[in-house]
Amino acid sequence: MINQLQNEQNPSIEEELKKKNVMQSIQQLGQTTVPSLESNIYCLPVIGQIEGHLVMPPQNKTTKYEHVIPQIVAAEQNPKIEGMVIVLNTVGGDVEAGLAIAEMIASMSKPTVSIVLGGGHSIGVPIAVSSDVSFIAETATMTIHPIRLNGLVIGVPQTFEYIEKMQDRVIQFIARHSKVDDEKLRDLMFRTGELARDIGTNVVGKDAVNMGLIDRVGGISDAMIELNRLIKKNKGELLQ
């Protein structure tokens, strides 16, 4: 009775309690069904290091290829998903994993749009250019620099040839999926005097667009508008 009275005087407390109860019952997930909030767009965040064949120490934030690759397969196969947006803020990582993800995105039949926010460095570059249309935030940067071998390096001429070959894989992928040509990319990659502790270039927002690496400067709304346009086009609703 007293409780009721208090509750009547203080409806906000009662509401709060109700909310708490709901939260508690929800916390026992597995017994309640989560209302499904469907989206026709699949969001693929590529953040931190791209983790491939080697598990990285715990201080690294990573995007793992064993997560991403099945996600792309699922997005491609799921009829409810009509397009994919790739959000990049990555410092690079494993070359094989990065190229695998980039190839998967490039070979998707559904429309894909990528957006570089913050940074899309090193192996993030092929991922950024692999989509149908790529965007870069005005303040975002992309570091283009040579690849290098880690661990034991056998000091023979063949090692150089091997690095050259690995480097060509990255360069050719970027050249094939963007408007930058092979030569220009090599020039950017081996330029001196631009980076503090490496050779190469750091391209910021607009510069990346001017050199043809990225299609447009823009934010999330530009990316979404473009993706929705591509989805409509893909469905045949938009005749041009």
């Binding site: 939260m23 929800i26 916390q27 026992q28 997930l29 597995g30 017994q31 069904t33 989560v34 909030l37 469907e38 989206s39 767009i41 699949y42 969001c43 693929l44 290091q49 491939g52 064949h53 080697l54 990285m56 120490p57 715990p58 201080q59 690294n60 997560h67 996600q71 699922a74 997005a75 410092v91 690079g92 990582g93 494993d94 070359v95 094989e96 990065g98 460095h121 090193s122 192996i123 570091t143 620099h145 690849i147 290098r148 071998l149 880690n150 661990g151 690995m166 990255v170 980076l195 502790r197 490496d198």
Partner: protein, 74 residues
């Protein structure tokens, strides 16, 4: 393996505490894959969502830091 990144390798491969990550687990709860930290009391604290559905990130129950209780189903 070739690691292609502007970060120095000593920063990436330096391992401060081998056991630091042992309490982190990847779990799938109600169709949402997430990275959780398991407390000694068997409570799960959400660290990060690994979902591709952008709507999952708006779900108030799935916000990072939220605690989920493991209740055995009988």
């Amino acid at each position: 393996m070739i690691h292609y990144t502007p970060l120095p390798p000593e920063l990436i491969f330096y391992n401060p505490e081998e056991s630091a990550s042992s309490s982190l687990r990847e779990v799938m709860i109600d169709g949402v894959q997430m990275l959780v930290e398991i407390n000694p009391t068997m409570e799960l604290k959400i660290v990060r969502l690994l979902s591709g559905n952008p709507m999952h990130y708006l779900d108030p129950r799935l916000q990072p830091g939220n605690i989920l209780q493991l209740i055995p189903k009988i």
